[in-house]
Amino acid sequence: MDTGIGAAVARKEDFRFLTGQGNYTDDIARPGQAHAVFVRSDVAHANLNSVDCEAARAMPGVVAVFTGDDLEGVGGVPCGFAPDGGPMNEPPRPVLAQGKVRFVGDMVAMVVAETAQQARDAAEAVVVDYDELPAVVSMEAALAEGAPAIHDLEDNSCFSWGIGDAEATGAAFAKADHVTTLELVNNRKCPNAIEPRAAIGEYDTARDSYTLYTTSQNPHVIRLLMGAFVLGIPEHKLRVVSPDVGGGFGSKIPHYPEEVAVTWAGKQVGRPVKWTAERSESFLSDTHGRDHVTRVELACTSEGGFLGLRVHTRANMGAYLSTFAPLIPTYLYGTLLAGLYTTPAIRCEVDGVFTNTAPVDAERGAGRPEATYLIERVVEMAARELGIDPVEIRRRNFVSPDAFPYQTPVIVQYDSGNYEPIVDRAAELADYAGFAQRREEAASRGRLRGIGFAGYVEACGMAPSNVAGIIGARAGLFEAAQVRVHPTGSVSVYTGSHSHGQGHETTFAQIVADRLGIPFENVDVVHGDTDQIPFGMGTYGSRSLAVGGSAIAKALDKIVAKGRKIAAHALEAGEADIDFESGEFRVRGTDKSVGFGDVALSAYVPHNYPLEELEPGLDEGAFYDPANFTFPAGCHICEVEVDPETGTTRIVNWNAVDDFGRVINPMIVEGQVHGGIAHGVGQALLEDCAYDEESGQLLSGSLTDYCIPRADDLPSFVIETTETLCPHNPLGVKGCGEAGAIAAPAALINAITDAIGVAHVDMPATPEKVWAALQSAQGE
């Protein structure tokens, strides 16, 4: 069976997951562990008069109760990004509230008890006296004159940021034949990984060292942030372990106060302290995603040529700045506003705003779905207003294949791409030509059928570290790998990427098996433990293969280079005359060869070995810092039928063609696209993280109110890929994890508005909203 690059290999990790032997954080029971429950604010905004823990301390099984006062001296949870390095209002975020609570779910106290039930019982006995303040939930309310200040700041503004040439954009609008304008909401989502967050903190007195087990997409980042900025623990005294992680979708990137609390408390109480979120707690305390209010204008010629794009967005940060919050609506958003098109002038301005809501951070796609949504919505609207076919208007404005590398007006330079074949193939798969007939047939059944397109280009593979530094990241964005060849030729790969469902153990093993010509079974991938992995920046932004995989590829090059030296010695040939192919080092033009396994053995049993020139062993590490982002692109076409009486939308077809560069495992790639589409469909149709405007209570605080897609909400998908290789990474790969979530919302809303013949419906396009839109259209 082919297990190399390009093969649809079944996953290594599946056996343990399928037999119930996965090891998720909540599955871990440390000897002597106590259990923590957090007392969370049930009001959105208040001064804390007092937190009385006396009764709670007297409850059965209670080990300790802590409040913000106990954590004085412990640093707040830091933010890892300031656009352009600032200016940015960056108020402190204490681990447990100090003097004030700022959103429903803010942590007020921590109860540690023998059992989780006892901790929960005692948490109820903590008496919090709140002096309630008016809450601001919407950005409009937060920025209004006289709005209550959430922090000790002049107002609730976090930052104001802009990208692109305002003057050139103004000039483009001045000469436009037509301007399409759209105001839209990019609805707040709750990522809802099915595994709730959990953390166990423990302190080893004998070694004076700490261990944190946590549900993280990036354990080294947590170690760095918590160790250096919060608890003041040096890296060699802090181990962070992220075992199997049950989905993340961005919500397990940030460093959370609960991680600090259990680590700190583990030392205080002298035993491991474990916390596992309940789902209703996840809704309150996991970072949310999106939450933009945007006005977009597109200036066009009468033939549908794009001249300029002007965007103003308000982005909700929530009550505190989560780790990467300010990055998402700035550099992961504004830089993608060219989309697939040659729009010559673009200006985007973004205001970050504090509100009395849960902190907002990355959610699958993070910035890029928001950018794609507005571009593809406004392009579709322009096509309709100008009477141009939606495929045709896109085609007229594509960056042409010979224009790469293409410099956009919003900083980024697209490295590669070929958009027309993507759209052509997608339209063919979707039988666009036969749509009119299908629409007619649906009408005969009383259904309104619509078709919606969304093209997208996204930036994956974050990022060149020097660029990251210039734009305001407080970290590098390389990745690290170690390839350890064992004496008998089997291989352990240590990667700083951290799978939370992506199948790294399989994809990375395919790369290694392919490069070294060894059996796939002989390769294991190790990740998620800062004591085992050299370093790691983790998994997010579809970067694992493009950056983490490239680091592995670099380390493999070093392995092969050293192997070549060993082989040259063994074969008594010049190093330059040795070829390596299919696991054999061969003297070019001869039948003299030595297998990879023999070379490995000789590296560890160096009897016949050039010891004077070469160290024994075959174990190579690499850090890879990408030269540029990667730029996957694609086209998704969605077809819906709307029931005009109820406004219910049913998705009847979904066809997509994506260019992810080289595909290592097509089965895994398709799965990533399916999952991404489901997130996008959820956002467009079902998911709405809603707060009550007055009270600041979360209205969609459980899965009985917050609707994530179920199997019967979705169709089967038709997915294909095209391939233009990434020119600047060794694997030619681009990234696929977020594509579906980026393309789907625009495709769906374009389809729904096409079906019901209205200009726009905000997400989520619930049956009631669609019905109301139809009602008002009929009233006109």
Binding site: E124, S280, L686, D705
Partner: protein
Amino acid sequence: MYEFNYRRASSVFDAVASSAKCDDASYLAGGMTLIPVLKFRLAGPSDVIDLADIGELRGIRTDDGAVTVGAMTTHAAVAASAEVRQAIPALADLAESIGDPQVRNRGTIGGSIANADPAADYPAAVLGLGATVHTNSRTIAGDDFFTGMFETALEPGELVTAVSFPVPERAAYMKFPNPASRYAIVGVMVSRGGSGVRVAVTGAGGSAFRVPEMEQALASNFAPEAVADISVPADGLNEDLHASAEYRAHLVTVMAKRAVAAAG
């Protein structure tokens, strides 16, 4: 959850007697509502009396033109019952539309109606089919059973033992589910039979209710168009994240129309 005493009752008599002896007992039927309520600490009964061992509360029988469903009969059993499917297919359809398969495997008709969730499905059947509720001490006309949101005519300690549904000539249930919880945003049961036409709505109001104007219209013309222009006032209907009162009122008409069409 708060701690409670767990007891298993061996008979209806035992359950009721045991309940009378406790400070604040809750009967546990399928537990599909009670257990989540306990988990969220929204209730703290001193005792939970499990009815699972009471064989007399289980089962379905058809006689005298009525289908009688024992209180501890699961939704899955009702949905799968050939007897129900033959006599009142609308009731089997309704049972099949409740929750999800695992909820249907545990949840019971008695638990559902005693809980009287305004968005539960069974209340539409109790009113819409003109059912009679049997308890350990009496029978209660379905029309009198639901008295408000999460409120019924049951006295403290009174236990539902069975529900009898007269077999209608025709009936159908149409449900517009809440996308997240899969409870009814609006569910309408329409029937025509010995006791005339009934139109009962769940999900829309504080508790299930009938729509006399629709019933009268259908009595003279049992056809979808007879109800197409009849709407219930939005005033006082439920409002939430998923549906406004106006939209619910609109859905009542649409679901009623479709139920009439399905009932044929």
